[in-house]
């Protein structure tokens, strides 16, 4: 851990709940009349996670399925409101997830344009970077097909390429690398290392311990919504492997 660098993210006692109907239909704010009926379930996904991340760190996040890793990423990105606690960040963190299709009924080409615009680029910037984005994704021949026809790997590649086309100070990568093939994974890991060197902070959620060991300088282990361990990749990964 590099103590001398500036903190870029402070996560303070973060609690996140999901309220769902047992039927799976989500509905909010029916407190008075309806909430007692029909088995509302509250899932306590994060129960008080706190840590500080610094410039130039790349932090691996590991844990079992359903331990709260993705929820943590979404909360850091500001896409999920905490019920208690808060996340403070130097700039708006960009989340890169596996639910890759932005708009499935649109072609890859249009998704690149929309994704770029949604990230805050101007139309000129998008046009300028379009070729780089497509080149990085390596799926140029499928750009005129609707994104819902893509395989999960192809879609994830395109999403990753769109997201990294803009320089982010804080990037959150949620298992997006796991779906790409070997060549793409290496290219992406290199890009993440480059970003870190430009004083960025990168979070990487992955089940691939190899990928975590190769790209991360620090690892956080989330277990049942709490932070179980935080420290050197080797130690944390060893402890994690022992527990499974």
């Amino acid at each position: 851990m590099t103590e001398t660098n500036h903190p870029t993210i402070v996560v303070d006692n973060l609690h996140v709940d999901y309220k769902t109907f047992a039927s799976g239909k989500a509905a909010k704010d029916r407190r008075s009349l309806m909430s007692r009926q029909r088995g509302v379930r509250v899932v306590h996904a994060l129960k008080g996670v706190s840590f500080v991340a610094h410039e130039g760190e790349s932090i691996g996040v590991i844990g079992h399925n359903g331990s709260g890793k993705s929820t943590l990423m979404r909360a850091i990105a500001g896409l999920q409101q905490p019920v208690k606690g808060a996340v403070y960040a130097a700039s708006r963190p960009a989340l890169l997830g596996v639910n890759a299709a932005l708009l499935g009924d649109l072609t890859g080409e249009k998704n690149v344009v929309l994704g770029g615009l949604a990230l805050g680029m101007s139309p000129e910037e998008v046009a300028e970077r379009y070729d780089d984005i497509v080149e990085f994704s390596g799926i140029r021949e499928f750009m005129d097909m609707p994104m819902q026809t893509y395989s999960s790997g192809m879609a994830a590649r395109l999403r990753f390429s769109i997201a990294i086309s803009r320089d982010h100070q804080i990037l959150l990568v949620d298992e997006a690398l796991a779906v790409g093939d070997k060549a793409f994974r290496e290219k992406s890991e290199q890009r993440i290392r480059d970003m870190r060197e430009q004083a960025g902070t990168v979070f990487l959620v992955s089940h691939s311990m190899r990928s975590i060991m190769e790209t991360c300088t620090r690892v956080i282990w989330i277990d049942h919504g709490t932070l179980k361990m935080d420290g050197d990749p080797k130690e944390v990964v060893r402890a994690y492997k022992k527990s499974t």
Partner: protein
């Protein structure tokens, strides 16, 4: 866990809280900077929806035209003519129906704009107001060719082009502001309560009959107490359509109430919609 004072640490490093709702001026500024996203999304939505069809973009005009034809068939040929004596019925109907489509589609698509774009809302951070705005933009794009077709229909059925036709775009601009307000309010309500989606078609249908698309409210209510017509004219949708009709058709007229309501409805709903939508910005995409 530990006794580190995290908020103090964040303050010291000058880090703002993530996901905190921006003040309204900053929010609107960011919305303006990202307006291209909403406009492009609107265009792509139209293209994506129609690309599978043989006739493609023609459906933008063909669909409302056919719907108007159905109403024209039912109300023009089958029903009795008392409710529309002295009207040039086809232009009256088509003008009203095309304008009404602008309202009903904005309302409908606006209501679904947050819940229907869940994957976009969950993966990218942008002012959420762009999604309902995009729904209204989409209908503005569709309205333009419809208005061109309308002008041909008007001429074809014997209406003479006049300078007052030029007042139609400003009226539709006010109508658009009203629709933005309605779309924003519907979008937020749908997030709170999905059941609103079920109510939208019913409300649309109610407004359709209260607006007088295939009959003239002014004529139908002529024999009733005057307060009923006044009540009907408090409906801004009716007022915009009546204004457009007055500009393009012979023998239509408006009163002060209609003109005032057109402005009040546009400005009132526009501002109320923005504030209402913005004040729940932190909640969108939570489930």
């Amino acid at each position: 866990m530990t006794d580190i004072d995290y908020p103090a640490l964040a303050r010291e490093a000058g880090l703002p809280r993530v996901g905190a709702r921006q003040p309204l001026p900053a929010y609107l500024k960011e919305t303006w900077e990202r307006r291209h996203f909403a406009m492009r999304l609107a265009r792509y939505r139209i293209e994506a929806q129609l690309s599978q069809n043989r006739l493609g973009l023609f459906w933008v005009v063909l669909n409302p035209l056919l719907q108007a034809a159905v109403y024209g068939f039912v109300f023009g040929l089958i029903m009795d003519r008392g409710s529309r004596a002295g009207l040039n019925f086809i232009p009256f109907l088509v003008t009203g129906f095309f304008c009404f489509q602008f309202f009903s589609n904005s309302f409908n698509q606006g209501a679904k704009s947050i819940t229907g774009n869940a994957s976009l809302v969950r993966s990218l951070g942008f002012p959420r107001i762009l999604l309902p705005l995009s729904a209204v933009f989409r209908n503005v794009y569709e309205l333009v060719p419809m208005m061109v077709v309308l002008s041909f229909i008007l001429v074809g059925f014997g209406e003479r082009p006049s300078w007052t036709w030029l007042l139609v775009p400003p009226i539709l601009f006010l109508f658009g502001m009203f629709n933005v307000g309605v779309a924003l309010i519907a979008a937020r309500l749908t997030v709170h309560l999905r059941d609103v989606t079920q109510m939208v078609p019913i409300i649309t249908r109610l407004v359709l009959y209260m607006t007088g698309i295939f009959y003239s409210l002014e004529q139908v209510l002529a024999d009733n107490p005057p307060w009923m017509l006044t009540l009907a004219q408090l409906n801004p949708v009716h007022d915009y359509i009546q204004l457009v009709r007055t500009m393009v058709l012979e023998g239509q007229e408006v009163n002060t109430l209609i003109v005032v309501m057109a402005f009040v409805g546009a400005i009132g709903f526009f501002i109320a919609g923005i504030v209402f939508f913005w004040s729940a910005e932190e909640r969108y995409g939570r489930d």
